[in-house]
Symmetry: C2
Subunit: 343 residues, 2 copies
C-alpha cells in the first residue's frame, strides 16, 4: 500500500476519527485571511500589535509577567534551559527520559547550548518526588512535561505535582513546564491555567496540538527572563521578519478550541470505557487524564495498518493508522487523540 | 511625530517609493490562498511535495545537488559555518566586518556553535584577495556576501570574485555565499545563477528581500551536506510542522519577480543618475551594482524625517524615511531599494 493509495482513500473520506479535520494549505490560508482584521499591520521582527498583543493575552492567561512568540517549542525550551542553568551556574538539566529535548531534537541542548541532561525516573512511568530526591548531583533546572505525551498523556495528581515543585523551590532549582499540551490538562486539574503555571518559573505552550493552529509556540515567564529569551531567539534564527500566519492561527485556535477541552476529555473517557470491553486492547492511562490515550493493541502491525485502511475506504471514515512497535512483539501502540473530528 | 501619525499618513498613500508595495496580513494571506493548488497537501516536518518540490527547483536554479528550506537565513548560515568548519577541524570563520553573523545575530555563531570570527577587510570597503592573503591564521571557512548589503549592495568584479574563490579553493577553505540578495546580482554579472553559485560550496538565498515573500530561506549545497544541515535545523528549532505559508510565498516571489531584477537595476541606475546632479547627495555605489544603493544626505536627521513625512502626506506617495547616522555628523544614510513600487 503506497502513499498515493493512502492519499486516494483519505480524499474519499468525509469523517475523521483522530484529532482535528485535516486542512489543505489553500483552505487553511483562506480561513486565516477571513479572520484577519483587514486593517491590521504585519509584525516586523517580533514587533507590532498583531504579535505583541497576542503575547500579552497568553501571558495573562498563564499568569506570567511576559511572553514571547517563537516558531517552535524546541526553540522555547532550549532557550529556557539555557537561561535558568546559566543563573544557577550548573549546566545540568533534569527531565524525564521521554522528554522532547532528549528524544525529539537531535540533542540540540547539548550541541547548541553545552548543556547535559540528568534523566530522572523511568521511561515507563511518571517522575516522582522520590526519584528527584534520589538525584545526588546538583541541578541547574528541572523540566516537567504536563501531560507526559509519551505515557499517553499521564498527569501527576495535584498533590504529587505540588510536592515536586515545592521541593524544587526549596532547593532553589528553577522550574520549567513543557506545556505542549497544557491546554489539555485543565479538565483533570480543574484549576485555572494561571494556578497550574504558578508552580513554574517559566512555561512553554504550543498552538498546533489541541488548539489546531499551523505551528508556533509561546514561552512565558518573568519579564527580564523573556527579554533574555528574545536575544536567544535571534541567535537561533527564530526572530523572523513575519510570524503572523502562525500568530493568527494560534489566536484562532485559542479562541475557538480552548473551551472545548472538557468535551474532548469527556469523549476520550467514553471511548476508553467502550474499548475497555475488548480484551485485545490495553489503554494507558485508563481512564484517560486528558484528550489523549495510548492504546496497546494485540496483533500484527501490518494487519492493523491494512485493516484500518480497508475500513476507511469502506466506511468513508478516516481511521487508518500505522501503529508503533512496543517492547512486547505481540502488542502495537497507537496514540489516540480526541479533537474536533472525533467529536 | 508618533507611530500612529505615521500610520495615518501611510494609509493615505497610494504609491510607494521604496521596495515593494506593503501588504497587510489579510491581503497577503488571501493572495496566497488563491495561488495555492486546492488539492495540494501540507508539508509535515520538512516533508511533502509542497516543500521538497520547491527545494529541488531552487537547487536546480543554483546548480547544487540539494537544498533545504528553513525559516531564516540566520539558521542557514550558522549551520553552514558549523558543518564546514567541523570538516576542516578549524573553528575560525572568515567574513567581512559587516557580515550578518557579526552584526545581526547577537553572535549566535559564537554562543550556539562555539565558532570564532576572523574579520577580513574594513567595514567601509569590499574584501580583496590581498586582505585574505594577509590573514596569518588558518581558516575553517570563508563567507562572502553577494552583494554586500552594508556597502549599498557593492559587488566585486567577476575577476576579483573568481580570484578570491580560486585562492580559497587552492587553500582547501570551504566557501559559503551569503546570497540574501543573490537574485539581485544577475544584471551585474550577466551570468546564470548556477555559474555564480558554482564558485561556492554552499549558498544561502532569501525570499523576502527582492523577491518579496513573507519570510524563509534556502541553503543549497552537496547532498550529504544538506542532509547534515537538516539535523542542525531540527536542533535549532527550525524543523516546523508546517512551513507552507513561507514556501508558497517564496515560490510566488520567485516566479513573478526573478524576471524583474534587470528592470529594478535599470531603475536604480536612472535614479542614481538623476540624484547625481544634487551636490548634497553622495551615492554608494555610483552607478549602483544592483537594485539598491546607499544615499548619503547632507543635513539633519530630524529634518529629513519630518520633511519626507510631510511630502508623503502632501503627495500621497509614501517616501518617508528615517535616516541612519554616519561617521560624519553632517551626513545621514538612507538605504534605497528599488522594487515593484518604485517601478
Amino acid at each position: 500500500m503506497d502513499a498515493n493509495e493512502r492519499d486516494r482513500i483519505m480524499s474519499g473520506c468525509t469523517r475523521f476519527l483522530f484529532g482535528h479535520y485535516p486542512q489543505k494549505p489553500a483552505q487553511a490560508l483562506k480561513a486565516l485571511a477571513e479572520i484577519a482584521d483587514p486593517d491590521q499591520k504585519s509584525d516586523h521582527y517580533g514587533e507590532g500589535e498583531i504579535i505583541n498583543g497576542f503575547e500579552r493575552e497568553v501571558a495573562e492567561l498563564l499568569g506570567k509577567e511576559a511572553a514571547v512568540f517563537m516558531p517552535s517549542g524546541t526553540m522555547c525550551q532550549q532557550i529556557a534551559m539555557h537561561i535558568w542553568t546559566e543563573r544557577r551556574g550548573i549546566h545540568r538539566v533534569a527531565f524525564h527520559p521521554t522528554c522532547h529535548l532528549e528524544i525529539g531534537e537531535d540533542q540540540g541542548y547539548q550541541w547548541l547550548h553545552g548543556l547535559r541532561s540528568r534523566l530522572v525516573s523511568k521511561a515507563s512511568r511518571l517522575m516522582t518526588l522520590d526519584d528527584l530526591k534520589n538525584v545526588a548531583e546538583p541541578l541547574g533546572a528541572l523540566l516537567l512535561e504536563l501531560p507526559q505525551r509519551m505515557l499517553g498523556g499521564q498527569l501527576p495528581t495535584w498533590e504529587e505535582l505540588t510536592a515536586i515543585t515545592g521541593w524544587a523551590r526549596e532547593q532553589g532549582i528553577p522550574l520549567h513546564m513543557d506545556g505542549a499540551r497544557l491546554w489539555e490538562c485543565q479538565p483533570f486539574y480543574g484549576r485555572p491555567y494561571a494556578e497550574i503555571a504558578a508552580l513554574f518559573d517559566s512555561v512553554y505552550v504550543s498552538f498546533y496540538k489541541g488548539l489546531g493552529g499551523l505551528a508556533g509556540s509561546i514561552l512565558a515567564g518573568p519579564a527580564e527572563m523573556i527579554a533574555q529569551a528574545r536575544i536567544w531567539q535571534r541567535r537561533h534564527g527564530g526572530n523572523l521578519i513575519r510570524l503572523y500566519p502562525y500568530v493568527l492561527s494560534a489566536r484562532q485556535g485559542l479562541s475557538t478550541r480552548l473551551g472545548r477541552m472538557a468535551a474532548y476529555h469527556q469523549k476520550a473517557l467514553e471511548i476508553a470505557a467502550a474499548l475497555s470491553a475488548l480484551p485485545q486492547i490495553e489503554i494507558v492511562p485508563n481512564p484517560p487524564h486528558t484528550n489523549m490515550m495510548h492504546l496497546y493493541l494485540r496483533g500484527e502491525r501490518e494487519h492493523f495498518r491494512d485493516v484500518s485502511l480497508a475500513l476507511s475506504e469502506e466506511t468513508g471514515i478516516w481511521l487508518a493508522f500505522t501503529p508503533v512497535p512496543t517492547d512486547i512483539p505481540a502488542y502495537q501502540k497507537l496514540e489516540f487523540t480526541v479533537g474536533d473530528a472525533t467529536l
